[in-house]
Amino acid sequence: MNILREIQPSSKPVKRAYVALMLWFVGRAIEAAARVDGAVKAEFDGLSPGFTFSLGVMPQGPMMIVGKDDQGLVRYLGWNPEGQKIDLKMKVKNLEGAILMFTFQESTALATARNRLIVDGEVPAACAIVRVLDIVEVYLLPKLIAKLAVKRYPDWSFGEKIWNRVRIYAGAVLGL
């Protein structure tokens, strides 16, 4: 009789930590971008009051949660979904898919087209969040990398881009 082996596949702690760090940073950057960029603010203004969304990795995270507070301000709400009412859940189907997205080998739009994401919620809201993610990535990344990460690189003035980038980095890193 041939041997049957039972395997408990190992976890991938380094990749998980990288994706968790990226989600934390992008979550805080979205909060900052909603204050400094008119397009991001407009996208959130179009969403219902108290709207909250999560972006995470299946089956067990990591995850980021971002939502609008009572004053309509956009807030990064951490990584723990417990006790939160989440209107839109965007889940990457596996850690490797998240690595492709967060190492900018695949844009959010391309990852969606390649069936790497599950969206649980309203499609218009999901489209708005994908547009927000695209804008935030343009601010966070050098042009060479951002062009890989977004569907279409925007034609912004150099001064405006740099000034907003400094403010978003300051907001994301220092909480200013």
């Binding site: 049957l4 395997i7 596949p9 189907k93 390649r114």
Partner: protein, 389 residues
């Protein structure tokens, strides 16, 4: 042209995931089928080539426990299924993943029948009694060493022939890590088998728009990639295209009755223990010439499938069918120049002229279900015996 008066049916229940990191979707897909503990079946050869490690990595971070049985032999039998049935039940597995083609897939399909009901259901199915229970989830991971029936309703286990649409896998994954370069002869045989299935599907009297679409995809992928893959086996994109072509071809084949070249190729293969794909490659040009001469089933756009849209558009209508045959012969000659020991005719396989009579009887009886004239079968076999490509 679409014919509104034509009624047709088409069945393909398989979800397909192909490309970079496709394998990592397995845990989520199994979860969607209410399965949390899969049993992976594979061969000792594939296991030794590191496929087990690839699977382990794909399930990394999923929190699932997987079972791996790497002992599927080249000729699986009922005894093996009974042993696997015990292992499956005792260890609480709830899905099967077939890693590899041919015997692995036959074993997986048969085991799925057994574990979804009782092992006795296999004999009942072989006696043409329909399955009464829904089968457990079955996922197929294709490579380029295929029998031609992996994604179809057919399976064979020793003397048992199983046929049921329920046997078709629920999920198929093609990932470059699990489609390694095989021996040249194996890859050529798989491609020729797929090409035969595609060409016979597009000439089949019962063909429909969907079988055409699948056959077209298969034929184009094979014609555009097979020689490149043999010249440069490390070319990942080409190997993926050939594995996709196999799925397309098998799906169109599964929706139509098996064709003459397929049946004769299988019959000859049984008598000389040669890969049936190579034999079908030798028979295919003669079948196409016969179809051309008879001018019955031949369609005027066959060259579109075989030569591609540009070559087809640049060819006069009356020369189109002849060009299709010429292109098939060209590819066959190229493969023969790239593959060591590729037979030049069915005579090279040790088939004697007097053996042809038996093959004609086999072909015109059970094999081709009386659809073909024995004289046509004789014609093809004699030409394939006499002609050395």
């Amino acid at each position: 042209m679409f014919q509104p008066q034509s009624a047709y049916a088409f069945y393909s229940p398989t979800k397909v995931l192909s490309g970079n990191k496709a394998l990592e979707n397995l845990p989520v897909e199994l979860d969607g089928m209410n399965a949390v503990k899969p049993l992976i079946l594979t061969t000792p050869v594939l296991s030794a080539r590191g496929m087990e490690k690839v699977m382990e990595s794909a399930f990394g971070d999923s929190n699932l426990t997987i079972g791996v049985f790497a002992g599927v032999p080249s000729q699986p039998d009922l005894r093996l299924i009974r042993e696997l049935y015990g292992l499956y039940r005792d260890n609480g597995y709830d899905a099967i993943i077939a890693l590899g083609g041919g015997p692995v897939m036959d074993t997986a399909k048969a085991l799925n029948v057994a574990v979804s009901g009782r092992p006795e259901d296999l004999e009942s199915l072989a006696d043409r009694n329909p399955l009464t229970k829904k089968l457990r989830p079955l996922a197929a991971i294709l490579n380029l060493d295929l029998s031609g029936c992996e994604m179809t309703r057919y399976a064979s286990l020793g003397s048992l022939s199983l046929t049921s649409p329920a046997l078709i896998p629920d999920l198929m994954i093609i990932d470059s890590r699990t489609v390694p370069a095989e021996e040249h002869k194996t890859m050529a045989a798989t491609a020729l088998m797929s090409m035969t299935q595609a060409v016979e599907a597009c000439l089949h009297p019962a063909r429909n728009p969907l079988t055409d679409a699948y056959a077209y995809g298969a034929a184009r992928f094979i014609m555009e990639n097979i020689t490149n893959v043999l010249k440069n086996p490390s070319e990942r994109k080409g190997r993926l295209a050939l594995a996709n072509a196999a799925f397309f071809a098998q799906t169109s084949f599964d929706n139509l009755a098996p064709g003459m070249v397929y049946e004769l190729g299988m019959a000859i293969s049984r008598s000389c223990q040669t890969n049936p794909g190579l034999i079908m490659g030798l028979l295919l040009p003669h079948f196409l010439l016969l179809e051309m001469r008879k001018e019955i089933a031949t369609r005027n756009d066959l060259y579109l499938f075989i030569g591609g849209p540009e070559a087809f558009a640049g060819t006069m209508a009356e020369a189109s069918s002849r060009k299709a045959v010429d292109r098939i012969v060209e590819i066959l000659l190229e493969l023969q120049s790239l593959v060591v020991d590729f037979p030049r005719s069915i005579r090279d396989l040790g088939i004697k002229k007097e053996d042809l009579e038996g093959l004609i009887v086999q072909g015109s009886a059970a094999g081709v279900r009386g659809e073909y004239d024995p004289q046509d079968i004789r014609n093809i076999l004699e030409k394939a015996w006499e002609t050395r490509f």
